[in-house]
């Protein structure tokens, strides 16, 4: 084996006390850097209202909505918050975010101040297999509320240890922060209609694997979401929009319905099964999402149904 020059061979003359002193110095500097640089990153991240998901969330928290629409990309691309605002006279904010489920909805809700004027939360039912893992996208809010902290860590010691670092909490924000410093124009957020018409008919059916094991966990989180909203003195409504493919396994679907039923939460079904108009591919951009025309139709229908099942009056 050829001899390799390594630091082990290099003259690193150290004694144990010196090593411990240096390790101690390292730890001291590390904690100081973590607090200082992490604090700066935190300030910059909170100022950002223009770039990425972080910017959207900051903007939402400043807006103090009276009606809050939550859910995944379905909510984001289907429900026109300006139309709902015109119909209800309330400040309506669509905070739908791609690939998010009940955990994200609870986390976002927990960030609103207790004194907020929230009257109604509309949650478009959504579920993702990797929801717990994916929640780290809002790590930077760690420490803002006890509920949020427990959602982020899942009371797991490893996550708690990692999130103890302020820098780690702001990991992943370098791009958005730099972008918001360079170009501070508001990013498009809220309702985002999709253009285009679905062309491939018939639509292939996606078959999702059963996920019965997720149901007890999901039921607990759904009950938590309902309790969170009601604790704020607001109403909660679950909606289910149309899709030409199976959105989640049957076990998940029945969990949504049974929790809503047992908790007395109004359920607004706007799927193709209940509303035959939503079987028309011309209203879809892709099998899972409505296009602009479909969104206009469903937004109007949602406003009408909300007025029936959960009327709100805003001053």
């Amino acid at each position: 084996v050829p001899s390799q020059a390594t630091a082990a061979d290099a003259p690193v003359a150290l004694t144990w006390p010196k090593v411990w002193r240096r390790v101690g110095l390292f730890l001291l500097l590390a904690v100081a850097a973590d607090r200082l640089l992490g604090g700066i990153a935190g300030v910059l991240a909170r100022r950002n209202v223009s770039a990425g998901r972080a910017g959207e969330e900051n903007a939402l928290l400043r807006q103090e909505p009276e009606i809050l629409l939550l859910g995944s990309s379905h909510a984001k691309h289907h429900y026109d918050d300006s139309l709902l605002a015109a119909r209800t006279g309330c400040v309506v904010r669509n905070a739908g975010a791609d690939g998010t489920g009940v955990l994200y909805a609870r986390a976002l809700l927990s960030l609103l101040p207790d004194s907020s004027r929230l009257k109604l939360v509309v949650w478009e039912v959504s579920w993702f297999r990797t929801e717990e893992k994916d929640l780290h996208i809002i790590d930077y809010f760690y420490g803002r509320s006890r509920l949020l902290d427990s959602l982020l860590t899942g009371n797991d010691w490893r996550s708690t240890l990692k999130l103890g670092s302020v820098l780690y909490r702001h990991n992943g924000l370098v791009g958005p922060v730099v972008r918001s410093l360079v170009r501070n124009d508001p990013a498009p957020w809220g309702f985002q209609p999709l253009d285009g018409v679905l062309t491939s008919v018939p639509v292939p059916q996606r078959r999702l694997a059963p996920a019965a094991e997720a149901s007890p966990w999901l039921a607990g989180q759904l009950a938590g979401l309902i309790a969170d909203v009601r604790r704020r003195g607001a109403q909660v409504v679950f909606t289910q929009g149309p899709s030409l493919e199976q959105s989640f396994p049957p076990a998940i679907d029945s969990t949504f319905r049974s929790v809503a039923r047992s908790e007395g939460v109004p359920w607004i079904a706007l799927t193709g099964a209940e509303e035959s108009r939503f079987r028309d591919p011309a209203l879809f951009r892709d099998p899972a999402h409505l296009n602009r025309a479909g969104a206009a139709l469903i937004s109007g229908m949602l406003a009408t149904r909300l007025a029936q099942v959960a009327p709100v009056s805003c001053p």
């Binding site: 084996v1 050829p2 390799q4 020059a5 390594t6 630091a7 082990a8 290099a10 690193v12 003359a13 150290l14 004694t15 144990w16 010196k18 090593v19 002193r21 240096r22 390790v23 110095l25 390292f26 500097l29 590390a30 850097a33 973590d34 640089l37 992490g38 990153a41 990425g52 780290h136 490893r158 240890l161 990692k162 670092s165 820098l167 780690y168 702001h170 990991n171 992943g172 370098v174 791009g175 958005p176 730099v178 972008r179």
Partner: protein, 469 residues
Amino acid sequence: MLFNSIEFLVFFIVVAAVYPLLDYRRQNLWLLIASYFFYGSWNWRFLLLLFASALVDYTVGLQIARSDRERTRRAWLAVSIAFNLSVLAYFKYLNFFLASATALVQALGLPVQTNTLQIILPAGISFFLFQSMSYAIDLYRRQTRVIEYLPDYLLYTSFFPNMLAGPIERPSHLSGQLRAPRVVTPGGVYSGLALVLWGLFKKVCVADNLAGYVNAVYGNVPHHSGPTLVAATYLFAFQIYCDFSGYSDMAIGMARILGIDLITNFRTPYFSRSIQEFWHRWHISLSTWFRDYVYFPLGGNRGGAARTLVNIMIVFLVSGLWHGANWTFVVWGGLHGSYLILERVLGLVNADGARTRGPVSRALATLVTFNLVCLAWIFFRSNDVSDAWLVLQRIASVSGPVFWDPSLVPGLLSLVILFAVEALVEPESPDLIFVRRPPVVQGILAVSVLVCVLFLGSKASAQFIYFQF
């Protein structure tokens, strides 16, 4: 348990804290328990395979050492090689051979039923079997001493820092250290910590951050333009370097903390000025393994110029196949073999590497070498040979937009830091940038690296690429 996980940190702290309290025999037992626990945490079912393969070579080793008859020694060596290669062939290559044979028969127009077996590849199998095989070969060559105490041998094949992805140790280097008391020195612990930190930076800040872009592009080649594929190929070059050398740095650093010296596996290879020099600086433990156990037995350079070139090509084709059961790896090996042959035939290299003088020609040689290596990486990274050809065709067309992913920013920032550090220490070990500075500067440098790991490191911890080999 990945090296870059909190679970592993706790595991290693416990191992390292108990270790100095024991005498060297108990230290070996302690490390053996820790190593089997570590491997079992991946898949406990393969512990039996690990144990059985070690037991075979341990027994073979005893028999070779006890016999003076050449024929007997040779027969025992054959048992070891046959056993190890059979295990490797079954777990790693059986499906590949079946698929290739089926394709060949189909190409001849004969009817054939396609069947593949559901075989799970044990993590790190190529590494621990090669390390085990080198023990039997070295004993046969009388280049090392027999290990008589079974736990010592089991530890030699399963030492947790290097068992999954190397460096592939040699008995003459590692077993001697396992048979004698070891001294945990303050300098060793200190430089070991520096190396672990630097390896962690390479893995989570560079490799894992670049992985998303590379996987997205190479996972969907037909949808990407030539410029995007060029970008993804360059980024893959750094991803695989940082993934693999990051693992090696951490393995060497951890072993050093335990008072054990592992051989250096990488020496800033992308600064090489020739392919020959590249192979003296990239995955050194594997290239020297193939040199000693394949190239030399084939005759090395003693059979004349033509025979030498043939031997070089054989070694690189085998090396390609070692990396994985796919023709892409064989082509990758073949390309490197061809480069080396061309360098020799054209007289471009001497014993020290490239025949270059002056900074400009050196920089040019480095640039050409890097691009040749990247060209070969296209085959290494592609899912199959047809994908690789498509990549080459798209790159040749030199047109189309470049796919940009904002999540690349932390990876690119980290790449700049990596380049700056490696350019400073090249060709020495990167931990030297930490240990040969005044204490305060060392502290600031180390903290800066930690800040990068926390702030820029990827949260999606991916498995090390070389575990699959």
